[in-house]
């Protein structure tokens, strides 16, 4: 008996050993070859449609579950925040507080109730503020059957749990090995291909081949993430000698954009695997990699970028002016450095669909490897890319104002919140200058409209200006 079982097992095993690689290579072939030529077999779109149906069913099932068991009382995420905030300006609000007084507000002066304005604003920000939530993943309105987004969703029904379990198996055992293989193939091809192209001397042939190699590799990588990308307004695609700016959500942004065009990358030169990739990329066409020490010198950075842009045959450079990853619900302050280089700016808005996978890289919580693993075990990456019409700096507009104008355009197109806060608040403290601004505003209210002519400002010797 045992002999038979043993023999059976061995037989199965040998069949598996033979079939598995065959199946694997067939799959890879079916995915890679079309990817290299920019064609699509339509498999991904069918997959997405099936997913959407399943997720919609899951949403309905969860809602029904909530109605049947109200004691679960699971709070759904709030798109408009937790609390109602008064929209009035400082003057308006304080004026209302001061209404109990007989003197009018234009006479200035202080009222004991003035501090109430600051108290309420402070407490409102403790309960719910606009900034800190941008540095963590967006909460979904309904669960998308991924464990990692399961914040408040409890057990609802057996069927839902089975589907979720099936999902885990499919994602980790089927999709994940496939995607990893594709990613490795893609990156290897990039290194080999660009090095080979680097040996050519004929300029035109070199450029053409280099673009081809880059595109192929990024397309394979995109397949490696099951990425479905919709490009809008392709007529505004960035041209050579220009600067492409986009909102930043994750390192994958580069793969997303480079699927449709060739860009010159800008960044810090790393060691290790990244370094190998970077060095080989430079062999086939110019990218701009900075040493860590160079990055501190803003003038050096700007002049190198300017030189690159000035050579009109160079590929457009790709810059993310926010400087850090934001969670794709808002666009934060654009650093003006990129806008001082000159040349034409091609803004691009990128918006991920959060139902299929959370693309935001929370660099405080997850390192790069962890993040890529999470990406490869999501359902898919579905993203919309809008190319906006090119912009240039107007007469009399300084770099910061220009940056804000571009930021608003991108936020408006992508349906994101336009925020003036700096993305570096993720790690750094907010500048004192903003507090001083508020103090100044309040002081002018206290002094009234007669102005501050008869007094000198209080000076503290230790005060930093």
């Amino acid at each position: 008996m045992t002999d038979l079982c043993g023999g059976g097992m061995e037989g199965l095993w040998s069949i598996a050993v033979v079939l598995l690689p065959v199946w694997f290579s067939v799959m890879i072939g079916f995915i890679m070859i079309p990817a290299m030529f920019g064609l699509s077999l339509g498999v991904t779109s069918v997959y997405i449609q099936i997913l959407v149906k399943i997720l919609e069913w899951a949403t309905l099932r969860i809602e029904r579950g909530h109605r049947e068991q109200p004691t679960l009382s699971v709070p759904a995420p709030l798109p408009f925040g937790l609390i109602q905030r008064e929209g009035g300006s400082m003057e308006q609000e304080m004026g209302e507080l001061r209404r109990y007084r007989t003197q009018s507000i234009s006479r200035g002066e202080f009222a004991l109730s003035d501090s109430f304005y600051f108290y309420i604003k402070g407490l409102e920000s403790i309960v719910d503020d606009q900034v800190t939530q941008r540095f963590s993943s967006e909460e979904l309105v309904s669960w998308n059957l991924l464990t990692r987004t399961n914040h408040n969703f409890h057990y609802i029904s057996l069927r839902l749990t089975i589907i979720w379990g099936l999902g885990v198996i499919i994602r980790y055992c089927v999709l994940f090995p496939l995607r990893i293989t594709l990613a490795i193939i893609g990156l290897t091809w990039l290194v080999i291909g660009t090095t080979l192209v680097g040996f050519l001397s004929n300029k035109r042939l070199k450029n053409w081949l280099s673009e081809l190699v880059h595109l192929m590799c990024y397309r394979i990588c995109a397949r490696g993430l099951s990425a479905t990308i919709q490009y809008h307004n392709k007529e505004n695609k960035p041209q050579k000698g220009g600067i492409c700016v986009a909102n930043h959500t994750s390192p994958i942004d580069i793969v997303i954009l480079a699927n449709d065009g060739c860009y010159a990358m800008v960044g810090q030169s790393h060691g290790g695997l990244m370094g190998v990739i970077q060095r080989s990329m430079v062999k086939s066409c110019p990218h701009v990699w900075f040493e860590r020490s160079e990055m501190r010198d803003r003038n050096a950075v700007t002049s190198r970028l300017r030189a690159h842009v000035a050579a009109k045959t160079n590929l457009p450079i790709l810059i993310f002016p926010e400087g850090t990853c934001i969670n794709n619900t808002s666009v934060m302050m654009f650093k003006k450095g990129s806008f001082e280089i000159g040349g034409t700016i091609y803004p691009v808005a990128i918006k991920y669909d959060p139902r299929f996978g959370d693309a935001f890289w929370n660099s405080a919580k997850y390192n790069m490897v962890n993040y890529l693993l999470r990406m490869m075990t999501s359902w898919a990456i579905v993203v919309n890319v809008w190319y906006l019409p090119p912009m240039t700096r107007r007469e009399g507009e300084d770099a910061a104002q220009f940056a804000n104008r571009v930021k608003s355009a991108i936020a408006h197109q992508g349906g994101l919140l336009d925020m003036a806060w700096d993305g570096s608040l993720k790690r750094a403290k907010v500048k004192e200058a903003f507090k001083e601004q508020q103090q100044k505003m309040y002081s002018s209210m206290v002094m009234g409209k007669k102005g501050r002519n008869s007094q000198e400002p209080h000076t503290e010797s230790t005060r930093r200006q």
């Binding site: 709070p75 937790l82 004991l112 109430f116 900034v131 993943s137 608040l425 907010v430 507090k435 209080h458």
Partner: protein
Amino acid sequence: MGSRASTLLREEEIEEIKKETGFSHSQITRLYSRFTSLDKGENGTLGREDFQRIPELAINPLGDRIINAFFPEGEDQVNFRGFMRTLAHFRPIEDNEKNKDHTASEPLNSRSNKLLFAFRLYDLDRDDKISRDELLQVLRMMVGVNISDEQLGSIADRTIQEADQNGDNSISFNEFIKVLEKVDVEQKMSIRFLH
């Protein structure tokens, strides 16, 4: 992430907080979510630096005073109960509470308790009087460097003159209430939840 958060808050605790503060069940769970997202050290308590990480609070001229209000005398950490107790002062007064007769102890968000909270933000040394110095301190925090010492001093003097009724050159809690009796405290010192 809020996943661990809502499972760590037990039903009994939620009931106790509900009784003490008057917040609803869903408001408490949401505020707990907020509490844990601010608690970067993940040890169940908030320190002053956790509050200062909120940019909008950091630029508030009275931010430090507000943060202090959360921490009991001499302590550096506040737990969720303490957090809720302080926030409870700013819960709106519901209609069915307005005319309740106060046989039970006064709710944390009554008009008089709201004013007491504001009074204590002025009265640092808790001697139940806002002295000229204490008033000057708050004024200085609000105006920064933009007004001179003498100007500020005379503003403080005028304010105390207006409010002071027993001639002790400071503002007691009753005098404070009297000055502000026409202010719509219920409306202006409340945070309205959308759910």
